[in-house]
């Protein structure tokens, strides 16, 4: 069990996965980076943003990180590009850009 909890997913062997559906430590989802599922990425325009935080509240994956200056930055390791942040932004400060265009 200890091995299963400390290795990264791609390091785990079947021997590590005894009783493999039971995780005894919380927070295992952090190790599963889902950012590469994304086809569109949110891009924040700080000129328009008024730091209201709705994007941070609505993000279903907690993938917006509050910065010290009060703005919010998408965490691209976990952002799946669903576009909810862009949709709820009252200032239209978040634009979804095709990954291919970046």
């Amino acid at each position: 069990m200890a091995d299963k909890e400390s290795k990264t997913v791609s390091e785990l062997t079947w021997q590590d996965m005894r009783f493999g559906n039971i995780y005894t430590k919380p927070g295992s989802a952090v190790r599963l980076k889902t950012g590469d599922w994304r086809t569109e990425r949110p891009v924040v325009d700080k000129e328009k943003c008024n730091k209201c935080g709705l994007c941070w509240l609505y993000c279903p994956d907690s993938a917006l990180t509050p910065l010290e200056d009060g703005y919010y930055e998408p965490d691209l390791d976990y952002c799946k590009g669903c576009g909810i942040c862009s949709h709820v932004c009252p200032k239209e400060a978040i634009t979804m850009i095709e990954e291919e265009e970046i």
Partner: protein, 391 residues
């Protein structure tokens, strides 16, 4: 002192769950399982059994409630059959993969349509890939003994897997036979208090069955397969200890009059006792025949099978289940596949019959052996043949 009492298979099952001191029973009634859950409900209501009884709205909910109860640290029991068994099918995979040692009595019954309520293994065989341990009882004593030892095997810290105990609908569930009931003190000595190492607890958070990407699903399933296979060793140890305490010893495969037998018949469940009489008659006539009875269906007992057929030249597998459009009944196709590389010199012949509670007589078992020999000698136009089916 143990007591010898007259019990139908259903009451033997309920008695075993009671003596195992289960904490939770969650079940939905379905023929021919009804007497088991009625009896348990009665035991809970009159205080004989101090357990929670959860009446649910369906079998899907029954198995889901069992899963939750087991995760919370409860020794959990349920029972079902046929269509109800299918309704809980999806949840069966969760319970095994989350290592929840629920024990379930499955009262084997044919699958509709045609609408029916009688015994065959069409329901049981669909569970062979679910990751549960599957035991087949021949008589009511075995129903009691397998449920009791099922808790011990499933709950073993090396195993942590759910167990199905299969008993034939009506032939066992509703037929009264002598059953030896042990003293509670003997049961307590054999079956310690339930302790699961990974119980849900708000003070010590844990996650069950989190999302698995293609990166890790295969490793998780391989580990689950190895764990189920290795549970056979634990079953052997537990049955050995069971024998030391209660005087009855069990094996994955029972051998009946196999000494020097060139022809073997393989059966499962209650008809095995009818087959024994057929073997006795043939032996009395000097024929070299024997019977092997499969008790443990999952994990499949490969080594025990190789040993059981060591001296045989012909193995006739009798299946109480039809695999539509397939290579014969599941036990036949699996047995033949298991022997394919090991034993080029043995013929394996499959026969299907006794579907939906149709009786098979001693004479028909004798005919089965004769027909098996003919097929082995001259071949057959069919991949498998049927017995006792008109036309």
């Amino acid at each position: 002192m143990s007591r010898r009492v007259a019990l139908e298979g259903s009451f033997a099952a309920a008695e075993a769950a009671k003596m195992a001191d289960v904490d939770i029973v969650a079940a939905y009634p379905i023929t021919p399982q009804t007497h088991i859950v009625e009896r348990l409900a009665e035991m809970v209501a009159n205080g004989e059994l101090k357990a929670g009884y959860i009446p649910v709205d369906s079998e899907h909910s029954a198995m889901s409630a069992c899963s939750g109860a087991s995760a919370a640290g409860a020794r959990t029991f349920t029972a079902t059959a046929s269509q109800g068994f299918f309704l809980m099918h999806e949840v069966l995979y969760w319970v095994s993969a989350m290592n929840q040692p629920v024990v379930m009595a499955v009262c084997n019954r044919a699958v509709a349509p045609p609408q029916n309520i009688w015994a065959d293994y069409s329901d049981a065989m669909t569970a062979r890939d679910t990751g549960w341990i599957q035991l087949f009882a021949v008589n009511n004593q075995e129903v009691f003994d397998f449920i009791l030892s099922g808790f011990r095997i499933g709950e073993d810290a090396r195993v942590l897997l759910p167990v199905m105990v299969h008993l034939d609908g009506f032939t066992l569930t509703h037929v009264i036979e002598p059953v030896i009931l042990p003293e509670q003190e003997e049961v307590d000595r054999f079956l310690p208090k339930y302790q699961h190492p990974f119980v849900l607890n708000p003070d010590k958070p844990m996650s069950y069955a989190v999302i698995s990407s293609p990166d890790i699903y295969s490793e998780t399933k391989k580990a689950q397969d190895v764990n189920l296979r290795q549970s056979k060793e634990v079953a052997l140890q537990v049955w050995n200890e069971f024998g030391d305490v209660f005087g009855r010893y069990y094996l994955p495969i029972d051998r009946y009059r196999c000494e020097g037998a060139k022809t073997l018949l393989m059966t499962m469940g209650s008809l095995s006792e009818t087959a024994k009489v057929a073997i006795d008659r043939k032996r009395a006539r000097g024929e070299d025949v024997g019977l092997i009875i499969l008790h443990l269906w999952r994990p499949f007992p490969f080594e025990e099978l190789y040993q059981a057929v060591e001296d045989a030249e012909l193995l006739i597998v009798f299946d109480r289940c039809i695999s539509l459009g397939g290579p014969g009944g599941p036990p036949f196709s699996e047995v033949r596949s298991a022997l394919f590389d090991r034993r080029k010199d043995i013929k394996v012949v499959g026969l299907v019959g006794a579907l939906c509670g149709r009786n098979l007589s001693v004479e028909q078992f004798e005919e089965m052996i004769d027909r098996g020999r003919e097929i082995a000698e001259k071949g057959s136009k069919e991949i498998f043949e049927t017995i006792g089916i008109r036309g």
